[in-house]
């Protein structure tokens, strides 16, 4: 039984190059999770991608484990909004 849906913010330290954003967003799209907001900001050779989305805790964990396997993702932090 999955926990109820909650709002999450994923802060992703990604390599700043063509295709990084596509790789990251495909992970969400392939699992039917849409964004409530998405920002991408270049920072000293890297890119900080911030994505806000709604999902169960289980699905949020699956998304993070999958994102962490991408070569373009250097680090990732997931925070529950309001918790």
């Amino acid at each position: 039984m999955s926990s109820p849906d909650a709002r999450w913010v994923a802060s992703i330290d990604a390599v700043d190059r063509t295709g990084s954003l596509t790789a990251v967003t495909s992970v969400f799209a392939n699992r039917g999770v849409s964004f409530e907001s998405l920002t991408a900001v270049p920072t000293d050779g890297h890119g900080l991608i911030t994505i806000e989305f709604t999902a169960s805790e289980r699905l949020a964990r699956v998304l993070c484990r999958t994102l962490e396997r991408l070569a373009v993702v250097a680090a990732l932090r997931l925070e529950r909004v309001g918790g």
Binding site: N30, R65, E68
Partner: protein
């Protein structure tokens, strides 16, 4: 969706990876995870394999990721091709029981890691032999509907191909299933064979001509005799042994031709990979499709007049969530007897390896 191949650098693992990319089963927006063993040869080779696959398929390659431990596995479909395979060297034949003893630890390590770290929704396709043992161990940890053994589908494709060859047609015009245990103890269901383009009478005549008066009651002894005969012919040369196979019935050929192919040193990696890619494609396809596979049953099939409990190859409906219904229609008496015998043998193999189901 993402696919992980455990044992990616083995003969079968490599072929599976290449075929998943070539057939576009894993699209360019998804991830193919190559999993090897840290500290082993595969832990080095898996990095090279990643580069080689990108070299070969850069135009449409998926994102390719390397994993080096069971806990690294992250995917929607997991292909288990890790572990030892039977030797191809003369005099180094390994029994299914010996293989079970060696590969049990591999199955258990991945089953435990997927149970602890996985999404709870991965579909696992077991290729490593004994496939029935792998299904038993992984189904126990992950839930039986998420685990499908590939062997029965490969045996089914081989049986269909042999029937098609005898009839002078292509495999896609032949239907029918092989059930039971993968390999020598396969149970070819002649009662399920359908030949497209023939009416019932024409089909019955064609099948009678192909099968003759034989029944599955003698199938095990026929296979044993055929393998002994092949050993004799191999002394005259491998081509002579392959030529001898052509004179045998299709169901016998379906067993012994892959056996000789493996023993020849060529192995059967491409055929195995094609059947595996079929199953992965079926799971990802999103439609309910009937294939054959080894699964852990809890009474969904009647064998020998009773609901069967344990691992057995059966025709089943595969969906993106795993397998659903078993589609084993009432069998001919000789098929039912043989399947009951084979089912009991699988139970003994699984129990002897210490995995109870």
């Amino acid at each position: 969706m993402d696919v992980a191949v455990l044992g990616a650098t083995g003969d079968v693992g490599r072929a599976v990876c290449a075929m998943l990319i070539e057939r576009r089963v894993v699209p360019s927006t998804s991830r193919l995870q190559l999993v090897g063993r840290d500290g082993g040869e595969s832990g080095r080779a898996v990095h090279g394999l990643r580069t080689d696959l990108i070299d070969a398929h850069d135009e449409h390659a998926p994102l390719i990721d390397v994993g080096l431990a069971p806990e690294d596995v992250v995917a929607d479909v997991v292909v288990v091709a890790a572990g030892r395979t039977a030797s191809t060297k003369p005099g180094e034949l390994i029994t299914r029981e010996e293989l079970a003893a060696e590969n049990r630890a591999v199955f258990e390590a991945y089953a435990a890691a997927l149970a602890e770290h996985g999404s709870g929704h991965e579909v696992v396709i077991v290729v490593t032999n004994p496939v029935e043992l792998g299904v038993s161990i992984l189904a126990r940890e992950l839930g039986r509907h998420r685990v499908i053994g590939m062997g029965a589908w490969l045996d089914t494709l081989r049986f269909r191909r042999e029937l098609a060859q005898s009839l002078g047609i292509r495999r896609q015009r032949v239907g029918g299933y092989v059930v039971g245990q993968h390999g020598d103890a396969m149970v070819p269901l002649w009662s399920t064979v359908r030949i497209r383009g023939l009416d019932d009478d024409e089909q019955a005549r064609a099948l009678t001509a192909l099968r003759g008066p034989r029944s599955l009651d003698d199938f095990a002894s026929e296979v044993a005799a055929a393998k002994a005969r092949l050993e004799e012919r191999e002394r005259e040369g491998i081509a002579s042994a392959f030529a001898e196979i052509e004179s045998w019935p299709p169901d016998i050929r379906a067993v012994v031709r892959p056996y000789l192919t493996h023993q020849s040193g060529a192995k059967t990696a491409n055929g195995t990979a094609a059947a595996t890619a079929d199953l992965v494609d079926t799971v990802l396809d999103g439609r309910d499709i009937v294939v054959a596979g080894q699964v852990a049953l809890e009474g969904e099939a009647l064998v020998g007049g009773a609901p069967f409990h344990g691992v057995l190859g059966v025709p089943l409906v595969v969906t993106p969530d795993g397998w659903e219904r078993v589609l084993l229609d009432p069998l001919a008496p000789d098929e039912d007897r043989r399947l009951a015998e084979v089912g009991a043998g699988i139970g003994r193999l699984v129990a002897a390896a210490g995995a109870v189901r």
